[in-house]
Amino acid sequence: MFAGLERTPRTLLVCERSSFLDDKNRLSAQVEQLHFNYKVSMLLPDCSSAPSHLEAVFNSINSFYLIRKLPIHELLDIPFLETAVHQGRVSGLSYGTRIDEDNCVALMPNGHLTLSLDKDSFELLGVEGKPSRFNQRTNNRFVSVDLTDSAMAPGGRGYQRLVKGLRSRLQLKTDFLLSRHPGGGASLQALLSRYDWSEHRPEIRSHTLQDLSCPLLTSDLQSCDPHRLLEWLGAVDAHVSCENVSNSFLSSLVCPEPQSRTSGALSVSVCGLLRPQDVQRLIQQARAYLEQPQVEPWVSLTVHGFVDSPVSWGDEEHGVLKGGELFYSLLLFQDHTYQLHLATGAHDTCPP
């Protein structure tokens, strides 16, 4: 009976190694598939202050909007559909809703509207949906609607049914985070003017670490065990000491061997609602930084998705059993090779 205590909840880690010079590398496709990114944190060893072009990219990331108590049927409003959703100029996620407790909503840039509903809400809404893969016993339902499909054209039966369901039967209202893609500003104004909204800039935090022990990383995949490397990267990002001093019981995490000591390293992170295009630009800047001669020939970039997002990579369903981690960590080297580690938790499908 207690055999279950030895097992930890299932986690999935996919490790991939490739090069930017290789035509078949899938990195852009993989980055594009995670639509909603919460945080990007970069670690630049042997760097005292952020390079100016990197800072310029951080500052040029678009701001995002938070709309309070948005009725979800507003996303199906015909002017909004035609100007914003069908053109792929908007994407958003419900905020202040927990995936394993509440109903969650996501609007993808490809025009897919995804709802993760509990049993009562799904029965009230009256729209077709699939049973949730991970919460079968509690009868959750995963509803995914393609708003660009001809079946959901405004005026059609499918569209009318969904709008009627959201407007009168279910009346789903959540706080909503909306990100603006280039060219989409004007189309959002009509929607924003009707509700209480606020604009937010992504939060940038930067921290210089003195005397940091870094593992010796080479582009060979066997140089460092991925689990230990990710553990060390997480400890550095969370400012947890990896010294493992004998008189401190707070942390026993250590830097993986073999290690070297750097005089200073820069850890910089940006939090908000970030688009995959922002992540691509940061990757390009990291590669540009590596082209200059460096003591440590690597840079790491970790991208976290939202724990409470109903979708993970692509349109796959995401859930939380005990921890809804959803992130990927990219290790870039000077010779244009990279190592990519994609990690998900128990209630997730395999990353691409």
Partner: protein, 252 residues
């Protein structure tokens, strides 16, 4: 998927303590708590069932649950202590929602499958409280021993885990209680349900006991006289509308 609930938060007459308990529960992520009033019938004098204090008097502004945008919901609950253990079999037949498993002693009897299954069929849940395990190491052993023997007979179904906390420090977060459920012998999915969907079933079961099989219920309609017009209220809840005999159905 259901919100996290803690259905056993001990009542104390000190308002500041109740306020800090409810605020701690909201901060930890519980969306619903139930304040527990305990009643122990003594044979000596006429038993007096405690009346619940209105929530407005305990705490004027309900705190928002951390991570969500709704305030916490506070319910009231009455627990009747059956002092004689032979009443345990009788409990299976009574009209109750929750059967609490005692943690203060090693239970002298073992749970038999038949009455446990009968209770599960009727929608009754078994409750295990964990705050005694936090306070005392002997009670920790009894809690785990009693919980494990319960799980063997009920196979992890219809179990709820709750705190019975008297102080805010005795409350634990919902994911921590899920891990504690693993120690009691529940599977991961069962342990998470014990804090969320099973609690929701218990609350719905309690609501349905006031109704006829959960389908029909009566509700007091508003009867405030409108002072401007001076006319009597339109709805009257005293006498139901009388039925009129349908003439064409009478038999000749």
């Amino acid at each position: 998927m259901a919100v996290f609930m803690d259905l056993n938060v001990s009542f104390s007459p000190e308002k500041s303590r109740m306020k800090s308990l409810i605020e701690a529960a909201a901060h930890l992520g519980f969306s619903t708590v139930a304040i527990n009033y305990v009643f122990e019938p003594t044979a000596k004098k006429k038993p007096e069932i405690p009346t619940p204090t209105p929530i407005r008097e305990l705490i004027d502004h309900l705190p928002v649950v951390q991570g969500r945008s709704r305030p916490i919901r506070v319910l009231n609950r009455l627990t009747v202590v059956m002092s004689d253990s032979s009443h345990f079999a009788a409990c299976m037949l009574h009209d109750v929602d929750i059967i609490c498993i005692s943690v203060t002693e090693k239970l002298p009897f073992f749970f038999k499958r038949a009455p446990v299954n009968g209770a599960v069929d009727r929608g009754v849940a078994f409750e295990v409280s964990y705050s005694a395990a936090i306070r005392d190491s002997t009670r920790r052993r009894y809690t785990i021993a009693n919980a494990v023997s319960l799980m063997e007979s009920c196979k992890g179904k219809n179990v709820i885990l709750s705190s019975a906390a008297e102080k805010p420090l005795e409350l634990r977060g919902p994911y921590d209680i899920t891990n504690l459920g693993l120690l009691f012998g529940l599977s991961e999915a069962d342990a998470k349900e014990a804090v969320s969907s099973t609690c929701r079933s218990v609350v719905l079961h309690a609501e349905s006991r006031k109704s006829a099989s959960g389908i029909i219920y009566t509700m007091k309609s508003c009867s405030e006289p409108s002072s401007q017009q001076g006319a009597p209220a339109a709805c009257s809840e005293d006498t139901p509308a009388a039925k009129r005999a349908r003439p064409h159905l009478t038999c000749d």
